[in-house]
Symmetry: D2
């Protein structure tokens, strides 16, 4: 029998857990695991369950819809490997880590393609028999370049886009088009060091801690909902190049941890924040 | 209307969440927050909810008992500050931290008394107007000493005993008598460095990481269910005294974090492990 | 024989270590420990040694001055407990931690007095038999208030001022007067969340990591040279009050760690950064 | 002009830094960076410097030898990329991380070959055009197998052997032969969980923290001098498989950090501990 993931996000109200579990129980489904959170500030209810049993998807969703508040967003997904496109530029550490993880069955996703505005990473990607699309931005306006990128991407079927050190700013059109589908790794513990060259900024500020942040991409650069963060300690002996080198380990681990959460449908986005079960 | 904490621990079965939420809903209680975990290895179900509403305690427990598996342990506690006795020996950092936290309303508990086998800490405890009982072990067998300690303790009403660097081994009788009620802080990241002088052991082993572990006390010395752990980095420059000094900060923070969890009834003990919501 | 700490900070040049060790050796002093760092970007040399032996301070400094670059700042201090004044407002966790540490001989300093713009903390400070000066800011201009604070402070002899959650902005005159002598604890991992109520800012941003920063105070608010930082993880379940509570443990530990470094003369300040040996 | 790394390890004595810097200065060498440590317990002196200038290696070593205590071990190495052989079994995460790092010039070493007792990893290694030697242990005694492994290894020139999850116990002969040359990654924060399947041990013990340890290999299994350690937090929700998965990220980062230190000649081994500059 299959496992399904049920996610519900709605206005808070009395008895929601009872109502959900009532529907599930009477549909002969067993809750393997459930998590629940109420955002008191915004009076919102978040619920996620792994349920087990035979499901008639539409029937079940309809029944839930009837017993939930009107604004309820209900998702019922069969547990399955997600499909992803990776966008990258020149740096290989995050991309390579994901390639390796998929290769050794340690990534809960299938990389359907890699798109880059340079061809630096082609050789690496090809080693793993994954399509590499080089879409140069040379001589193109941002709009034209993104149009070509989108054309390439739309030739694939995918669930998420992973920006694995993609170093170009994306237009608001592009971002809007893939809202909630794009995860980025930023090389600082946001909101510190927004913008260009965070390691140089960190070096100049003389911090004793550097870090990385994985977040969903929204139109405010480096301001999207944060999924995961981590830091490491540095000392006065670190040049900004040393910070960059040390930071690569944090970046790839934080990105990988964030993607694990996203790919298991454990992340809700609400009011520019994430709720993670 | 009052908040209650409901904890249920029983054999796993189908529909438990439905059954619990059914009882609560029909008793006109609202679930403010709930957490649930199934230990698949031992087929055990753990559930904790903060519920809100008017409760007739016995009636509610009876109703829950009817719909749960026979072995269900059901606890329904009103949210309240716990009462604790602290046992200590000579070191003041954990004890002092708890005294300060209570003084500034940052400890979710009331310290009803401090018991020690030395009188070193009397002055400090008295500063905070808390009873200090000096029960010397000099010239007494372990049994006799513990009998006197128990007599003193039983003159107080308390929920938990906190061993804040109490440096004497407790007899199995004593431990049994207070099973599930005693939290200890051990100055290593268990199971590394069980036994005496963990910092010397850590120094001799040349570790790059030292830590502390808060755990419930059981008859196996330093083997009880772990509640919280944390570590810090050390280098070859640390003597064991330096490790001890640095470790004091970790010890007091780990103990304090563990107690926060225990005092909010967030900890289950099962099969020598903790489930923490 | 006494231990001395020698600190030298000068333009970088060839042979500096040779020249220093030459002077020390010929003065019959033994280097117990030495650290050295060259800031290549600014071509500056930093040196610290613990030396052992009989010292004629002025003679030694003169000899060193002769062999060092002209701009050399040479400090030779006998190892001794520093004297500090603590400034605080209403929160007791950092202040209390320092009081406890001094009480148990775990602070490498003597607290000569506590100055506050409220009288909330008087009772706590008096428990430890330390003078408490209440200098209300009510009805006073910043200048007048600071003048009174300074008068009180100048009645003591002290090496450093510790701002243990002193919640008033200091004028540039005040800051200038005590430049290099004032250590502050800020309740965020700077440069994130500069300014008022960092925990609310952190909550609103939805970060997964909060922290604290100890730094020397300069005229740019929250922009002074960083001495120590640390972070802890938080989740969507944390309200900003929860973050504040959890943050208190980090704040006090970070401040205490920073002060350990400062009190042992291990910190150089240069170009708004610290070099720490 | 070239950079050299000078490492000295000898009995402690007065004036050693003066004597070393005297020799260097008079040989017209500049100290770019130096670190020094005295292990007071064993009265041993450790010194490392990066020196800059034209060096006649033998002459310099001789001069140093003359002015140092008799037992002084003096190493003078030109800064260069080390050559390494990796031994692995079936798991690819540490090996793959090193392959990727070398591929992107982020590893301060050249991987000259990979030796394994299985052929699982051949395909991965070949992607990076690095020789893979499959030396099956099937049907061979430990001695015979190791003899074959050594024959293969001796066909390469190398500085270090990296055990990147090599899952066979090595005989004391083998270990002795490569003493000080072999770095292992152990999947626990040693000395916790020595021996087989540390994640299962950690799961069974119910720890809240798991980790990894990189160490030099000595004849006492998992008892060699520790180079680097790190930990991550786990909860009751982690099965031992989950711990294993989460642990892979720690293992590869800890191994990589340890190797950075070793390959830059920053590690001394003494009395089963490391001194790391």
């Amino acid at each position: 029998m299959d496992n399904y993931i049920l996610k519900i996000d709605c206005e808070d109200a009395k008895g929601l857990i009872y109502k959900i579990s009532d529907v599930l129980y009477k549909s002969d489904l067993n809750i393997v695991k459930n998590d629940e959170f109420v955002d008191i500030e915004h009076s919102r209810f978040f619920f996620r369950a792994i349920v087990n049993g035979g499901v008639e998807k539409n029937v079940l969703i309809e029944k839930l819809q009837e017993s939930m508040p009107e604004d309820a967003k209900i998702e019922l997904t069969q547990k399955r490997r997600k499909k992803i496109i990776i966008m990258a530029t020149k740096e290989s550490h995050c991309l390579g880590d994901l390639l390796l993880k998929e290769y050794s069955d340690d990534l809960n996703a299938q990389i359907v393609g890699v798109v880059s505005n340079y061809d630096y990473l082609k050789e690496l990607v090809n080693k793993f028999d994954i399509p590499f699309d080089f879409v140069s931005h040379e001589g193109l306006s941002r709009e034209k370049h993104e149009k070509k990128v989108m054309e390439v991407m739309e030739s694939y079927e995918f669930d998420y886009i992973v920006l694995a050190k993609y170093m170009r700013i994306l237009s608001s059109n592009f971002v809007k088009h893939y809202e909630g589908k794009m995860v980025n790794i930023h090389h600082s513990f946001l909101p510190a060091f927004i913008g260009a060259n965070p390691y140089k900024q960190a070096y100049n500020r003389g911090v004793k801690t550097i870090g990385a942040t994985a977040h969903f991409v929204t139109n405010d650069l480096d301001e999207g909902p944060i999924i995961a963060q981590d830091v490491i300690n540095v000392t006065h002996e670190f040049s900004w190049r040393d910070m960059q080198k040390a930071g690569r380990n944090v970046e790839k681990v934080v990105l990988s941890n964030a993607l694990d959460l996203v790919f298991e449908d454990r992340v809700f986005v609400s009011a520019n924040k994430t709720v993670i079960f």
